[in-house]
Symmetry: C2
């Protein structure tokens, strides 16, 4: 399989080159949640089917994944799925409640709940992912566009599994970390098995890059992150990197509000670190070091702003990146519902034009 | 008035000495929102009167302020009020909706809205504050306990005034900063007048310390904070420090999620910097420098934990403070409703006992 893997064809794509800190003709851009509610094409599909049905129907997941690729000049696609999907195969009952986000009917609260969790191969519990990724890769590779596979990082997945949904204060997940550390460790160990397997499976199906979403890591103290979270996330990245197939694709670690944990984030071992707008790109590079690519870091709320303010902020970010190889332009978090489609188009085109011009003048 | 001001009597209190980075017999402790819903005495009062009525009735504000002082060995009291109270005198219609928090019926959206805002002396619009502070100071000073006055910082107040209440993405306030910078500047200038006056008035009434609450500053990029927020907050602190009476009391700057903005926070000029649990205390001190006192930084969720975990975290924080003069023990954010009263008592006593013992062994 590896002989025909898309990564062989895509090694010279803008996105993959930037992940590997190789020079590119222009700064690559993609946007988190680029296939989402802000697009009328997406809403048209989702009016007819539920979130889970769309994820579980490879033809629909393929169609949604391709929507922003067909609409804009994105440099990468990301497979349409949800970070919580793997929890279903582990035995949790997941649903998406309209307007309220995900809800888990049987959240994990006790040692017995953790012991009851299963860790079956994700190729068996989520065959639809393999099919959707194959469909997308077949469509994208001839266009020189990589497909990003992804998974939730163990702390963020555990938070949902324990809280049963979104949370304001993360009281229950923190309670397990502090008061039942052995139960927490067993939960983390099971998540490491499933998430590692799920990421590797996505590469085997045709993903050319991976992103670990640790959206909630920023609620922890440095001490808790170091002791109760980082070892498991690091283990997942090590597992992905020790598999000959998945070792060949770049891995991005995404989190929010972890600017004070950057030394620990760097030590996780990802190829690319995605940062949010709380830290300037030049300072982030200073802390992270020159041996990693950096993804980011526009405030998604700026897409609701008028063009002059948005342009000024894009210019600032590009100036902070200062032409270093290894910058992937992205938001600091996902596109918000209601974002104007025309602004997304203008942003994507502007990042390309601005960096192509910079490249051209540098050559003169 | 200054001859009889409580600060003269309280210069040797633990809290004031720590604010001034002078050695103390034990580490002082108070807890943000220490007079609040977790206390049955507080709920008993609030069952009968609304939030605004309690704030506007000096006898009730006095009673509530004293509740945690009578119940625990706190080293300072904080006047019972709300950061949004000053907005009423400016012409905004504020109410507290049960279970939903503050709501402003006529939020600020346009240049005309900003122009219509008034900036009357706060002693005239909020005479109840003067009275409540006098009652509290008369009660506290003989017990060698300082009273902390406070105000919301201009960004956080403007956020409420513009969004009309709590916000998920701060879309409207950011929109004004980015797309209507002149309107934003005029709003900030008016808030600087009112907040400066309000803080000075509280000192004149008898407050021995001040805290500026910038709860939402952490949603901004370093560039936006530098350009659109920090100058106004700095101006308020300069105004307080240039008034002979208020210059004599320590000023604390509180914010959340600003670990990546610490250099800018230091430059604001407060005597004490309150930090949250996203940064370890020793690293914070390293960034901030030894010329400021530091307040913090226990995760308030730890008060729901069992004692061994809470104790381990208190021990860690005290070890990070490492006996430096100028540590004020506090949470990183306010006490959460539902926090067990007995845990608060145990925490306060433990911080005193642990640091008294450390002091005693250091003397041996």
């Amino acid at each position: 399989m590896s002989a025909n893997h898309p990564i062989d064809t895509l090694a010279d794509s803008r996105f993959i080159r930037a992940c590997r800190r190789q020079p590119t003709d222009a700064t690559p851009i993609w946007l988190m949640r680029q296939a989402g509610r802000y697009m009328p094409e997406y809403r048209a599909i989702r009016e007819k089917v539920s979130m889970l049905e769309a994820i579980r129907t490879p033809e629909l997941a393929h169609a949604i994944t391709m929507q922003p690729i067909n609409a804009f000049a994105m440099d990468a696609a990301i497979i349409f799925a949800d970070i919580l999907t793997p929890l279903i195969g582990m035995g949790l009952s997941l649903d998406f409640v309209k307007g309220e986000g995900p809800a888990i009917d049987n959240p994990i609260r006790t040692a017995a709940d953790v012991d009851a969790l299963r860790t079956p191969p994700t190729a068996e519990t989520m065959p639809f992912m393999t099919d959707a990724i194959r469909l997308c890769a077949a469509d994208l590779t001839p266009r020189s566009l990589p497909l990003i596979g992804f998974a939730g990082a163990p702390f963020t997945l555990a938070s949902y599994a324990i809280e049963g949904g979104g949370s304001r204060n993360y009281q229950m997940v923190k309670g397990m970390i502090w008061d039942a550390p052995d139960v927490w460790r067993r939960l983390m160990e099971k998540l490491v098995i499933v998430i590692s397997d799920y990421l590797i499976m996505q590469v085997q199906a045709g993903a050319s890059a991976l992103q670990l979403f640790d959206s909630w890591a920023g609620v922890l103290s440095p001490a808790d992150y170091a002791q109760s979270v980082a070892p498991y996330t690091r283990q997942i990245i090590a597992n992905v990197k020790s598999n000959p197939q998945s070792a060949r694709v770049p891995l991005i670690y995404f989190s929010i509000g972890t600017g004070t944990l950057l030394d620990q984030v760097v030590a996780l071992g990802s190829d690319v670190i995605s940062i949010d707008w709380h830290l300037s790109l030049d300072r982030a590079w200073q802390y992270i070091g020159s041996d990693r690519a950096i993804q980011g870091n526009l405030d998604p709320v700026l897409l609701f702003s008028e063009w002059p303010a948005l342009q000024a902020n894009v210019d600032r970010i590009l100036a902070e990146a200062n032409g270093r190889p290894g910058h992937i332009f992205n938001l600091g978090h996902g596109i918000l519902p209601g974002t104007p489609v025309e602004t997304v188009r203008r942003l994507v085109d502007y990042v390309h034009e601005k960096t192509l011009i910079a490249q051209a003048s540098a050559e003169r």
